[in-house]
């Protein structure tokens, strides 16, 4: 039968009509995200009201009324407080932050030697960026340089030696110490945590017991106690002149701590692995270390990335506790400088805390974003 040319059959596709206005664009987004139900609407309006209540005052305080330049407290104090601002005005004292900025970053490191921490920082960034990019080549060499060579080089560059003028760790401080402590803690805690987690699941009773003991003892003591003991009690036990560096004590304390926490995070990942993975690896004739390295750990660690990053972020913020042993990390040096009578005003302490909080937030937020990226990048098995 010949194909009849029915005139009522369409030849061309009808051009697509635009979606109804309720399904696209701003209105759709608003409807689904902000005003989907009566409850949502109330919450949205409440949040908007809250923002309208807080934001103008905050912006006014942070930027419009803020003092940006000045050499001492006069710039940030009102006339009746002995300054130059009109009475009744209150704004952030950024002049304080800018006057103390170098201290906030480097502590009391001699200013003529700032190139040394800056060089270390530059090397750190140059080595870290390719390390963080999954596609960058030479991962092995990169890791060696970042985790083994850099700390050694940094130790001599910052502390002196080989003809460089020595700088005592007593003078280190600020963001520099925060970063050193957290980088060292992170670098040490991951491998140690893995070993401890494997040890805790080991069939060898002695190793298992030692690992359990270590983890449980460390997790049972507050970090403050350990730092305090290391700082105050240890010198009493050591003979005269046997003192060892406070920064080193803090480094050891912090990394022991984070190792114990890390071990439990990793153990969570190990426990989530199905038994078949272990048996499959065994049936291939892999040795214990091959099995762990090639089959189990890559999957287990991938599972617990959020937990690992959580520990890192916690560690980063815990470094502030070195304040109690007389070292000044970022927060410590901000607090210390609030006692400078030349800058003492009603707004100085708040400004200092806002600055410290912002810097901490930048670093923690970056870590958290990177972990999300890695999760998505590695999540080849069970995408939703």
């Amino acid at each position: 039968m010949a194909v009849t040319d029915f005139s009522y059959v369409r030849r061309q596709m009808e051009p697509a009509k635009p979606a109804p206005s309720s399904q696209v664009g701003v209105i759709h987004w608003l409807r689904t995200n902000l005003f989907a139900s009566a409850g949502d609407t109330i919450l949205t309006l409440a949040a908007l009201a809250l923002l309208a209540y807080i934001l103008p005052g905050l912006i006014q305080w942070l930027f419009i009324n803020a003092s940006w330049t000045g050499a001492d407290r006069k710039a940030c104090a009102t006339v009746s407080q002995g300054g130059i601002l009109p009475d009744g005005q209150s704004g952030a004292c950024w002049a304080f932050v800018s006057a103390k900025f170098q201290q906030f970053i480097f502590g009391r490191y001699p200013s003529s030697l700032y190139w040394r921490p800056m060089l270390v920082m530059a090397m750190f960034v140059v080595l870290l960026i390719p390390m963080l990019m999954p596609k960058a080549p030479f991962k092995g060499w990169n890791a060696l340089a970042l985790f083994i060579v850099l700390p050694v080089v940094a130790f001599f560059l910052l502390g002196g030696g080989f003809g460089l003028q020595p700088v005592e760790t007593q003078l280190w401080g600020g963001l520099m110490v925060t970063l050193i402590l957290s980088f060292f803690g992170i670098t040490v805690s991951l491998p140690f945590g893995i070993l401890l987690a494997l040890g805790r699941r080991s069939n060898m009773p002695v190793i298992k017991m030692l690992c359990v003991l270590f983890i449980e003892i460390i997790r049972g003591i507050p970090l403050i106690t350990v730092l305090f003991m290391a700082s105050v009690m240890l010198p009493l036990f050591l003979p005269d002149g046997w003192t060892f560096d406070k920064l080193l004590r803090a480094l050891i304390g912090v990394s022991l701590f984070s190792s114990a926490y890390m071990a439990e995070v990793i153990r969570g990942g190990l426990q989530a692995m199905p038994k078949g993975q272990f048996e499959g690896a065994d049936s291939l004739g892999l040795s214990y270390w091959q099995k762990m390295r090639l089959v189990i750990l890559p999957q287990a660690i991938k599972l617990v990335i959020p937990g690992i990053v959580n520990t890192f972020i916690g560690l980063f913020k815990d470094t502030s506790l070195v304040y109690i042993i007389g070292m000044f990390d970022l927060l410590g040096i901000v607090t210390l400088n609030q006692s400078d009578a030349n800058w003492s005003t009603p707004v100085t302490p708040v400004t200092g805390y806002v600055f410290a909080g912002f810097v901490f937030w930048i670093f923690c937020f970056a870590m958290s974003r990177y972990s999300l990226f890695m999760e998505r990048h590695l999540d080849t098995g069970h995408k939703r």
């Binding site: 201290q103 105050v232 036990f237 003979p239 400088n337 006692s339 009578a341 005003t345």
Partner: protein, 340 residues
């Protein structure tokens, strides 16, 4: 394993304590090339960092004075920041050579803690701050007032003692943190705020309307602040004490960091003796130092009056009058034994 380490540590502790107590600190300091002082973690005017990150303050200058006396160079002073609870173990363990951290000299610290105090570089005492609008001229007029005070401090106890002794009624408003008490006072929760006087001056800087507050003249407790050293090392104790006396004597003689060179050649016999310009003098060497020790202190750090003016005096934001800390010749308590 643990046990061996522990017993080794205890053994070491015994040895360490013994050697720390009998050690010749001056020789150790000279060998190290630097004198280590315990300072605070930020007390305005006593020890706080300046814009360059260097320590400044009256306690810090005391330490620089010791360095100047021992080495002739005030920069050979190293500062360890200590919290109020860390300070005594740090001195006992030898982590610091001398504690210049506005520490009140009390009998229990002098005896049971095993320290020695002799000089007082700042006479402090608990005082009251009130709103000007109350028109109060003396603490004795404070009957019925609401007093902001920090909980669990000697301040709170001194306050109760004082009001009881004078048969006055008062209404304590107690806070756990100093900062809370200050802001409550600033916000008008109470009529009176009480803490150490030097603290009252520093806190005025953080008030929204400092000129509406006055510090009353009464001082209701004694807080002599001075350096502490370990017991059993008299030579070092002497050095630390005489550094202060040299600074006070210099002020008494009118020797300042500016005119010290002139004074050394043209001054009277006692001035020349103190500055080490007297023939055959053994004052400095008997102290274990060189004969120009006092000259070095005054030249590089200044006399007591200069140090006070630089850190606490009317030219600084803290603006504390000399008061009890004036020389004895001017009605104060600063008095130095003769240097001869």
């Amino acid at each position: 394993m643990k046990k061996t380490i522990l017993s080794a540590a205890i053994g070491a502790a015994v040895l360490g304590a013994a050697s720390a107590a009998s050690a010749a600190t001056l020789a150790d300091v000279k060998a190290k090339g630097v004198v280590t002082c315990g300072v605070s973690q930020g007390i305005p005017g006593f020890s706080n960092p300046n814009d360059k990150g260097d320590w400044s303050g009256i306690d810090v200058d005391y330490c620089r004075g010791i360095a100047a006396a021992v080495f002739g160079d005030p920069s050979k002073a190293k500062f360890v920041a200590l919290s109020s609870k860390d300070r005594f173990p740090a001195l006992q363990s030898g982590e610091v050579d001398v504690l210049t951290r506005n520490t009140t000299w009390t009998i229990s610290r002098d005896t049971s803690l095993g320290f020695n105090f002799r000089t007082v570089n700042y006479y402090d005492g608990q005082g009251f701050m009130v709103k000007k609008s109350l028109n109060v001229k003396s603490a004795l007029e404070l009957s019925g007032a609401a007093v902001c005070v920090q909980q669990g401090t000697t301040t709170e106890l001194n306050l109760a003692d004082y009001f009881k002794a004078n048969n006055l009624q008062y209404n304590p408003v107690v806070f756990e943190k100093e900062a809370d008490a200050t802001s409550a006072y600033d916000a008008g929760r109470c009529d009176v705020y009480t803490t150490d006087q030097s603290g009252l001056y520093a806190i005025r800087l953080k008030m929204k309307n400092p000129d509406e507050n006055v510090v009353l003249p009464e001082v209701i407790s004694k807080e002599p602040l001075g350096p502490a050293v370990r017991q059993g090392d008299d030579q070092w104790f002497d050095v630390v004490s005489w550094v202060h006396y040299a600074m006070v004597s210099a002020e008494e003689f009118g020797i300042t960091s500016k005119n010290v060179d002139e004074m050394k050649t043209k001054g009277g016999p006692d001035i020349k003796r103190m500055l080490g310009a007297e023939e055959g003098s053994k004052i400095g060497t008997d102290l274990g130092l060189t004969n120009d020790w006092a000259y070095n202190i005054v030249k590089t750090v200044g006399n007591y009056g200069e140090v006070f003016a630089r850190n606490l005096g009317p030219e600084t934001p803290i603006k504390i009058e000399r008061g009890l800390n004036a020389l004895w010749t001017k009605g104060g308590l600063q008095y130095a034994p003769p240097i001869r």
